[in-house]
């Protein structure tokens, strides 16, 4: 198994301060490239980070910081061997330039530095800025139509499609008294409260959802039959709230959060551009018609 640690590159990139956690992990190059120095502190932080495999839990017996004191000489020997092997192979691979050719390493490091470059945006820019943002992204603060309704189900599987429809019509003509006792057992809800279109579609199908939206709000009147994926329904709509945009004051916390994210992303992109800007890009002429130099 070929294990690699990416920390020295972080240090090289000079972002140790942001990645506070990275710094303590490995400092293998303090002396020189061809010497692998093994200190107690190195080994203990190596264990704490999950190195040493089965030795790590032993060194942590009782559940604290791992300490070499819990390992006997033989275990320490194995630990040193695994640490040294990992370091040697890692450095050798680096010397061979293997990480340069490894797309996964490049991407992972790129992802990590993006994470590190991401600025903290915690300020509140005030209502004026947020209202502009809210207006520009009104679609994000819309709520769909919500319906509250009861239904009586006549199942096609049990009665046959045509009969289910006829039975529903007959029940409607006869007048509904105890609605819960009418029709057949239904798999999902029989009473929906403030249900959005996706919940209704998942349980009753798209056709039912569309038909439902056309029914009048009349808490005392049964309508139908309305067809669903499973059969026919008598439906009583008790309330409907139209699709609407949440007023700014109610949406403000979400707007602030979205604004901060947008700002954070913009600053991150700027930071990434800044990093790119520190490099000169030379593109061969057979790649792009107009070679661009930065």
């Amino acid at each position: 198994m070929n294990r690699r640690r990416i920390d020295p590159l972080f240090q090289f990139l000079g972002i140790g301060a942001l990645l506070f956690a990275a710094a303590g992990l490995v400092r293998p190059y303090a002396d020189n490239e061809r010497t692998i120095r093994v200190t107690r502190a190195e080994l203990e932080s190596y264990l704490a980070a999950g190195g040493g495999e089965s030795l790590a839990p032993l060194a942590r017996a009782g559940g604290g910081t791992p300490t070499l004191d819990r390992l006997n000489e033989e275990q320490r020997r194995a630990l040193v061997r695994s640490y040294v092997e990992e370091q040697a192979l890692y450095r050798e691979a680096r010397d061979w330039g293997l990480e340069d050719g490894d797309l996964v390493i490049r991407r992972r490091l790129g992802q990590s530095i993006r994470f590190a470059l991401r600025p903290d945006v915690a300020s509140d820019p005030g209502d004026a800025v947020l209202r502009r943002f809210y207006a520009a992204h009104a679609g994000n603060y819309r709520r769909p139509v919500e319906t509250s309704f009861d239904h009586i189900f006549f199942g096609s599987e049990r009665r046959g499609g045509a009969q289910a429809r006829a039975d529903a019509q007959a029940a409607l003509r006869a007048g509904v008294t105890d609605w819960r006792a009418g029709g057949d057992r239904f798999a999902y809800q029989r009473s929906y409260r403030n249900a959005g279109p996706s919940a209704i579609e998942a349980q009753l199908g798209e056709g039912f959802r569309k038909a439902l939206e056309q029914l009048p709000v009349a808490p005392d009147r049964w309508e139908g039959p309305v067809a669903s994926d499973a059969g026919y329904h008598l439906v009583r709509v008790s309330a409907r709230s139209a699709a609407r945009t949440t007023p700014f004051q109610d949406a403000r916390p979400a707007v602030l959060d979205d604004w901060q994210r947008a700002r954070q992303n913009a600053e991150l992109e700027r930071a990434v551009e800044g990093v790119i800007g520190r490099y000169r890009t030379a593109v061969d002429v057979d790649v792009l018609p107009l070679p661009e130099a930065r």
Binding site: R4, G16, F20, A22, S112, N194, D257
Partner: protein
Amino acid sequence: MTRQYRMTALAGVAVMAAGGLAFQMAGAAETVKAPPASAQSAASVSEPYAPPLREPDENNLYWGDLHLHTNQSPDAYLNGTRAVSPDEAFRFARGEAVEADNGMMVRLRRPLDFLAVTDHAEYLGVFPRIDAKDPVLDGWDLAKEWGGYLASSDRISLGKAFADAIQSSDAAFRTPEALDRTIWGEVADRADANNEPGRFTALIGYEWTSMISGDNLHRVVLLRDGAADAKKVRPFTAQDSVDPEDLWKALAGYEAKGVVALAIAHNGNVSNGRMFSPNRENGQPLNAKYAEMRSRWEPVYEVTQVKGDGETHPSLSPEDEFADFETWDQGNITLSARKQPWMLEYEYARSGLRNGLLLERKLGVNPFKFGMIGSTDMHTGLSTTEEDNFWGKFLESEPSGARWKEKMSAILQESWELGAAGLAGVWAPENTRKAIFEALMRRETYATTGSRIRLRFFGGWDFARDDIDRPDYARFGYRHGVPMGGDLGRTEGRRAPSFLVHAVRDPDGAYLDRVQVVKGWLDNKGQTHEKVYDVALSNGRKVGSNGKAPPVGSTVNLKQASFTNAIGAPELATWWQDPDFDAGQPAFYYVRVIEIPRPRWTAYDEKYFGVTMPGNVRRVVQDRAYSSPIWYNP
């Protein structure tokens, strides 16, 4: 060639996440005092439970997660959950798209109906404030010291200081009271701001993080009411005590101030025999007082979540071919001590329910009379339980081609072992804090391992075979029997109890393989037993002479990470009567619903990221639901 690339920002916190959070016994051996007289008498728990008729009188099903961490939890923050705060967690649960800490946008296929954000009570909300140099920390030397380590990247010193602090009962290591109240007040206010009665319920809560020698005894604490109430109390921490009896006393103290709360334990599977132990933490055998307090304050148990399933273990239920499900049995939560075979009996829900019957005979009260819920315990602020939309436990297990082998908190189990679980299903008249809380108190709840299987379960003495075909069987069930979580009461010479069971598949998910009733009982010699009955099978299958039903088969195509609903059934409904009923023996009955096989999240990862995992990685899953039990007591 396998390689391991570790984001060092994550690896660095290994000490805190695993070793550091291992709270040591702090004064747990001291004599446990009697709870204050204000603690509601537990006398009511052994009385038959008669559900009142409610309006609407069939109740509705609501889905939620009662155990979720955000950047306010120290281990979540130090493992990389920086941007996802409780506000994002609520918005995500309500169906909005949010940005995960790995930079990807994520949203749920279907929103949740309720959510409790339950960050660790110990150093709740402290680390984001240290990083942000929040002036509320001014004057707190510990935060100053830690802030210095953070600023100078001195991870080792931070780790040592943190480990010292959370293992100490020294007041100098506590979050100062004024600051703790400020932070807790904000936690409560954020939940209030996200609570919208009738549409979305945001419960106020926290997690009490007791670990004794690395053995998990964690409890989530939930409050019934809003921020005004919450601010009358403070979170009880493992620095206050690691003994659950002290937690219950603290909750009784809440009640004396008019603040109503309950506690939910989880992960018995990493408790190394402590979760359903027959002994108290002071080493004495359980007594009636303990049993009363536990059943009073812990009406439900979180039976399934990301760190494995806790229904039963294959060695406890050798006859049960579905017992080995997302099993985690290596050791305790910090992996500082290996599992011993004797521990298992005291770690799983089914054996806990069985031993509860035995203890009730001894003590007069059943300490383990709990209903079931599932929840996630995600530490990313993102409550995800779908196999094809699973966002892991920490940042290191958020989607990537390598996440399956990233160790949890850098040193624990490899992430492929994480389960995309679980959910809490709650039957309540409306979606409000009070209604959800009361359903938990009466245990009219159930657990799923992630999918939204709909499950109703009624028990009674007079149900007829065709009562399940009534359109209003639920109303009938409430009127003539008890729902899940209830007590059957005495037989009065009648025949065996019968049950109405109705299971419906997740509209977005897999068809159902079968519905089972799990029965546990106590015989006259003081031995407990269990038996699993297949009560409804899909595809016309029958139970054979060996007592087993043939398997449902599989449509899983691992290469494509796909399956079809060509087998199984969308809906299974049945009436069932206990054929082995003995009116003299206490018993419990709960329902287990099993889905047909489908690709596990690891299989979706293999396909999506084009990676290949080793043969020991689980790739197929049969998600399931566990109802709360219905008890019978002669």
